[in-house]
């Protein structure tokens, strides 16, 4: 990698790379059901930057939220601000099974070559009942992957144990065994359309439904072998491998606006602005002062005030 590309890459966190690449999958006007964390940030970037008419939905029952901040949980109260509809999980997922959700965003832990995902448990030397690592389970992901018209998986790519031959537990149905197997299982949604990571974008072959590497960031053009090495099976790479733009200035501006706590900019929890307020106030010594509450309050309120009046697109 030459020096110029190295410097370019170092401006972004892996999460920012994945989120910005993922946001570009949303088309303006689409109904987008988002999960939490990275997938929520991704939907919100799209709405701020290029899809102002997208209707963002969360499973807690928030429909058409404006996204005044990236949500930690699907029912964060600030997610309910400026919604056009408050309803139930029951209704949202019924609407999804009916076919109203154009695209769903979810993260993944283990994924196989047909886009099936495990977010339930890593068995390790144990089993389902006594796993080495218990994960979050389905959440809305099992429902979104079943019924959204298309599904986008998003996460930061790890060296091993992520793109695997065999899942410990299939939590999100993708294309099952490939070819027509998803259709034969009577799943209503269209299945995964893309897997977005900080190392590239993967898509699925039309016939076989096998995953292939479709796009990479400019600094990874010569690193395709390295990416293939992170995948347990023999990963196919498209002949006309595309180069994706690094995060664009407007996308980075969106992240800044959406994320005053810098969750997606500063990896270490204790180095973020909110934690600094708490540490300065003596949190580790068990102290709790009104000043901590007031400063954290002001940090978010000032950001929300700006966002409430923001015209879209930014």
């Amino acid at each position: 990698m030459n020096q110029e590309l190295k410097e370019m890459k170092s401006q972004y966190t892996p999460e920012q790379l994945a989120a910005c690449a993922g946001a570009r999958e949303v088309r303006d006007g689409e109904v987008v059901i988002v999960g939490v964390g990275l997938s929520n940030l991704t939907g919100a970037i799209a709405k701020l930057v290029h899809a102002p008419n997208a209707i963002l939905v969360t499973e807690a029952g928030y429909i058409d939220f404006k996204g005044i901040a990236t949500m930690v949980s699907p029912d964060d109260p600030y997610g309910g601000t400026l919604c056009t509809c408050h309803t139930s999980l029951t209704q949202v997922f019924s609407d999804q099974q009916r076919g109203f959700m154009d695209v769903g965003y979810v993260s993944f832990v283990q994924i196989d070559k047909y886009g099936n995902v495990n977010t339930t448990a890593l068995f390790g030397s144990g089993d389902y009942n006594k796993p080495e690592l218990r994960l979050q389970g389905s959440g809305g992901g099992g429902d979104i992957s079943s019924s959204a018209n298309r599904c986008v998986y998003i996460n930061v790519m790890r060296d091993t144990g992520q793109f695997v031959n065999k899942l410990d537990f299939m939590t999100f149905p993708g294309f099952l065994d490939g070819h027509d197997s998803r259709q034969n299982a009577n799943l209503s949604g269209g299945g995964p359309s893309a897997v977005i990571t900080d190392r590239g974008v993967f898509r699925f072959e039309e016939e076989s439904k096998e995953m292939y590497l479709s796009e990479v960031f400019p600094w990874d053009e010569d690193n395709v072998e390295e990416i293939k090495g992170m995948v347990e099976w023999n990963l196919k790479v498209t002949e006309d491998l595309q180069v994706i733009d690094p995060p664009r200035p407007k996308e980075m501006e969106a992240i800044r606006l959406l994320d005053p706590g810098e969750t997606w900019t500063i990896p270490n929890l204790m180095e973020r602005p909110t934690s600094k307020i708490l540490l300065f106030g003596g949190l580790l010594e068990g102290k709790r002062t009104f000043e901590m509450y007031d400063k954290i309050g002001e940090l978010y309120e000032s950001s929300w005030r700006i966002m409430l009046n923001k015209r879209l697109p930014i």
């Binding site: 807690a60 309803t87 099992g142 019924s147 949190l283």
Partner: protein
């Protein structure tokens, strides 16, 4: 009193201690309203730990940090869930659940996985008193392999595979709402999660309200009465009952009272830390009012101000 008798009373007001003692018995199954960040009645979770409830089955679409708290408190022997919060704010808080699953500490924990919509369908079936509901959610995945309560069959009309979720009817559900009257007409604002069907699926329903209001206030906005009085067995008025998390339109924070939340998360990194936290914040307080006193009323009012800057209930 028989099931029906509780529901027909005109004044259902009780204290939280009474409600937990009356409706939740060892070995029962139960659910909680709301979910992760909003409208989850943490005060009830703390109270059932104080009352040393045992061998409970918790069934819900999503479990937040209150579940980890209840498992650490030794209350839970079975979880039937669509979502577990095992990691938050970049910190793992899975030690308590893993110890229970793997080592049976403080007691063995059985787990059943569903998707959230499957659970909503189970609650819906119970809410209509029919044996099961069907859904396409989870077809082709591994739920059926490990969860023996759900089945797959071909539907008799089109002969295509469909998942059948049996009626799920918890013995009791505790639902945090923003406001309710004495008879139990309960209004919800913001997120609803699956409380529309859960409130009808439970044998007994306890409303935990942030504010007790007159029926005239309820009548002004009848569309927000998610749970009408005929579903309800008891009404408890408890302020800040979702603390350390939020309650839409009442009090917020950055998804939670971030100060309390981070203390909680740092403590729950290990099971031992969780026990120390329980000693201080649950066993160390007599009830919700002492708990609030310990958090600090002035601090809590700052969270009210924060929420009101973006969401307000219609008055």
């Amino acid at each position: 009193m028989a099931e029906k008798d509780f529901k027909t009373r005109l004044d259902k007001l009780m204290t939280e201690k009474e409600a937990v003692a009356t409706f939740l018995h060892d070995g029962d199954s139960f659910t909680l309203g709301g979910a992760l960040a909003s409208r989850r009645c943490f005060s009830v979770a703390r109270e059932m730990i104080r009352q040393k409830k045992r061998d409970l089955t918790f069934v819900d679409t999503a479990a937040g940090v209150e579940t980890t708290m209840m498992v650490a408190g030794g209350c839970i022997s079975k979880l039937r869930l669509g979502y577990f919060l095992m990691r938050t704010a970049g910190v793992k808080i899975d030690d308590t659940i893993l110890r229970a699953m793997r080592d049976g500490v403080p007691n063995p924990l059985e787990v059943e996985d569903f998707t959230q919509y499957q659970l909503a369908m189970g609650f819906m079936a119970a809410s209509m008193d029919i044996p099961y509901m069907v859904t396409k959610s989870g077809l082709g995945a591994d739920y059926l392999k490990y969860n023996k309560t759900i089945k797959m069959a071909n539907d008799p009309f089109e002969n295509k595979p469909i998942i059948m979720v049996p009626a799920i009817s918890p013995d009791v559900g505790f639902f945090c709402v923003q406001r309710a009257d004495r008879r139990g007409n309960a209004q919800v604002f913001g997120d609803i999660w699956a409380d529309d069907v859960k409130s009808r699926a439970c044998k007994h329903v306890v409303i935990i309200t942030e504010e007790l209001v007159s029926t005239e206030v309820i009548q002004k906005y009848p569309a927000n009465t998610l749970i009408p009085s005929y579903c309800v067995d008891a009404v408890v008025e408890v302020p800040f009952n979702c603390h350390p998390m939020s309650c839409y339109g009442c009090y917020g924070g950055y998804f939670a009272d971030y100060t309390s939340f981070i203390q909680f998360v740092l403590a729950f990194g290990t099971y031992e830390g969780a026990l120390r936290w329980l000693d201080e914040w649950v066993y160390g307080t007599e009830d919700q009012f002492e708990y609030c006193e310990k958090v600090g009323w002035r601090n809590l009012m700052r969270l009210v101000k924060m929420e009101r800057s973006i969401n307000r209930l219609p008055e």
